[in-house]
Symmetry: D2
Subunit: 240 residues, 4 copies
């Protein structure tokens, strides 16, 4: 493992140790707390939205850089192929919670979710073509951090195996993908600028994901207080 990889991992670990930006939603799901399935439903809706663009912005790296190293180009397209359609798992889990509608009936993504989506497209299409690896790097490793939260959700609600497909699926392919991203980074990075671009994208996409999760929680509080237009439809279909 290179010194730069070491540093990247440490930066990621430090970010999660601090967890100032992701804490609210984490706390809400902590073991022992009384849970509200509607919070999980809102989270799944926003997860559906940004996940829908993950394969697309991944493939955009390959399309928008005409001089790309071909081995890296092939990685991007292969990874995009693997990610395609994963949003339907989040949608499936939403239906398991009781949602009866179609994909088209879902509310638009929150502005904060749009920010994450827009940032990832921008980083994928312009600037250093390796940058987006910073997003994959943490996303493929995040399940160890989310695991306790997921356990709490499962236990509290008695959700069966088939009701959390999005997270189960991603946990399963975790180790394999994380190793693969690590290998691609080590092989493809040539300069300090490359490593910096990856680190910047890792940290920024983490922060934007944290901002999205924080907003999910705030929207849930609005819903609890009867002040949410956007998610009021959940009151009918999702059992608290």
């Amino acid at each position: 493992m290179s010194a730069q990889m070491d540093r990247l991992k440490k930066t990621l670990k430090d970010f999660f140790a601090e967890k100032s930006s992701t804490s609210k939603i984490m706390e809400a799901f902590e073991p022992g707390k009384p849970l509200d399935r509607r919070l999980f439903a809102i989270y799944l809706i926003e997860t559906f939205h940004y996940t829908r663009h993950n394969a697309r912005n991944q493939a955009a790296v390959a399309i928008n850089h005409v001089d790309l190293d071909i081995r890296y180009m092939k990685y991007c397209l292969k990874h995009a192929h693997e990610e395609a359609g994963h949003e339907m798992m989040a949608f499936h889990d939403l239906k398991s919670l009781g949602y009866k509608g179609t994909v088209e009936k879902l509310p638009e993504p929150l502005p904060q979710t749009q920010t994450l989506i827009g940032y990832l497209y921008h980083v994928s299409k312009t600037g250093n073509p390796l940058a987006r690896l910073g997003y994959s790097f943490w996303a493929e490793r995040s399940y160890q951090y989310i695991e306790p939260m997921l356990g709490a959700i499962r236990d509290e609600f008695g959700i069966k195996k088939g009701g959390m497909t999005f997270f189960d699926e991603h946990s399963d392919i975790d180790t394999k993908h994380a190793a693969e991203v690590e290998e691609v980074i080590e092989r493809t990075c040539k300069t300090d600028e490359d490593w910096k671009a990856i680190e910047d994208c890792m940290i920024m996409s983490l922060k934007l994901t944290g901002l999205m999760m924080k907003t999910v929680y705030e929207e849930f509080l609005l819903l609890q207080q009867g002040k949410s237009d956007r998610y009021a439809f959940l009151n009918e279909s999702i059992q608290k």
Copy 2:
């Protein structure tokens, strides 16, 4: 003035009244404080970067929606035309501070600045084509809020009229543009969804601009502490 316009203005006023996210940099520039031109230089660099994309994402609204109302399409292209090249005013002011290099030698935009840029492209290219008006709405009205800060910079540094062209130019065309955007919004909005899309984009782009400004300040603190690689070149050319 419609009730919705009234609400939009109130929402904007409330945001600035709270100013939690923009406060740090504002405080730093408050009258009486000893100033460091390097802070202003960093701010100008990031302003250069996002301004470079303003005409472009404005025109992107016209390009990416093939069924656009033609009068609104013409507004977008006319406004893009007016905004084109404004980044060179920020660059000119940076040179007035002592920067000797070229545009190409500037550091890449901060990840937070890229987030603002990426968000505006995403909002311009997809979803409700009126949304981006929310960005214009506050941007054309913001100079009243920034005025005190600009006065402080001018006084403290004894910057001459020609050294703050970016802000002077934008102050001058302020009233005209603000009225124009208001008129376009009133004429073009048909549904509650239209008004909501504009409000969402207004608030989100304000928050992202605040985040950018906060980061500018943090980067300045790093520079002061001798810990900034990115902006270390300013030590040579910008007189404190």
Copy 3:
């Protein structure tokens, strides 16, 4: 006038003198020939389609080249602004011929029209940013060549002034625009590659327009023979 401009004009004149690719439709509209309004209708439909993208691919030049000379960028956006909505004149003229439907009810553009559109987007977004001037160069000068054809249409059908707005409008602004494009080319071209890119785009877009017109004529023959699914709806609304 530079030697290169001289050559560009000669190349254009030679192309029209030969007119091998545009001849069929020209012949069909020659004075004295019995005319069929349905041919003119098909021509207007395809004109509607490609014109709809002219302002858009013109603005795409400004959006997709981030280092563009700002004066040229402003020209692109100004010209895009002027071109916006011109497709509605072609649609208006189609309605003058008797078409009762909406824009949405029109058949999709012919593959040959899509080829012209796709080529212009590709040239505008990639490669030499000056290339698209070659399209403007001939388009703004073409009305002198089309004039006899238009006269024939007008006389034969007794079409009133208000029934050929697309061509009348473009004839009127002809001289002004042609001079403007010429000036921009002279001012902006620096290298032989620039002049070559403009000439290549001029010739290629002329050929593709010729191909579109030839196909319009072939489609008309199919319609005459009762073999056209695409344009059969014209039989009901357009008087022969």
Copy 4:
């Protein structure tokens, strides 16, 4: 096999039977004719250029249609992955002919090649998302038609197996891919519009490829006559 698939195959066969648009270059390579390697070199250069975009416009289908059927989306990304880098085979074969330069030193694509590229991007990004299958449909089946030409080239020049990798590779995967495309078309097409979009794209991309080949031949004649600036560099490196 559906009736529509039957018709698609017949349309393709009829096109090649007529071969009016591809004939010139075919004739030039006919067995027994004295050959000039420079013609093959020009052909390889243009093949390099359009092939470079094949994986990209294939992936563009998946990126630009957000509501795409996920199984079809996965096909597009998988196919893009397989096509990625194939242009390097054409480049390799060019080097086998004697070319000493780099990819960057190659002349820009011919306007006719740009037209093919631009058309495929346009069809991939807009309109019916199935249309591009029409390009794959004929491209995967074309080697049976090109086979005699390839045999002539190989024999005449005594080119060894490793010197025609682009065509050998594509011949080998021919049967497999052709069956796969056929299956995807049968599975994914639901309406007459879908079948028509595929047929239109098949015919138009065939015609544009024919136009490109015809122009390659014309450029070769210019080179033979000492009138080509673009390809004059081939005189030094490619043995006639």
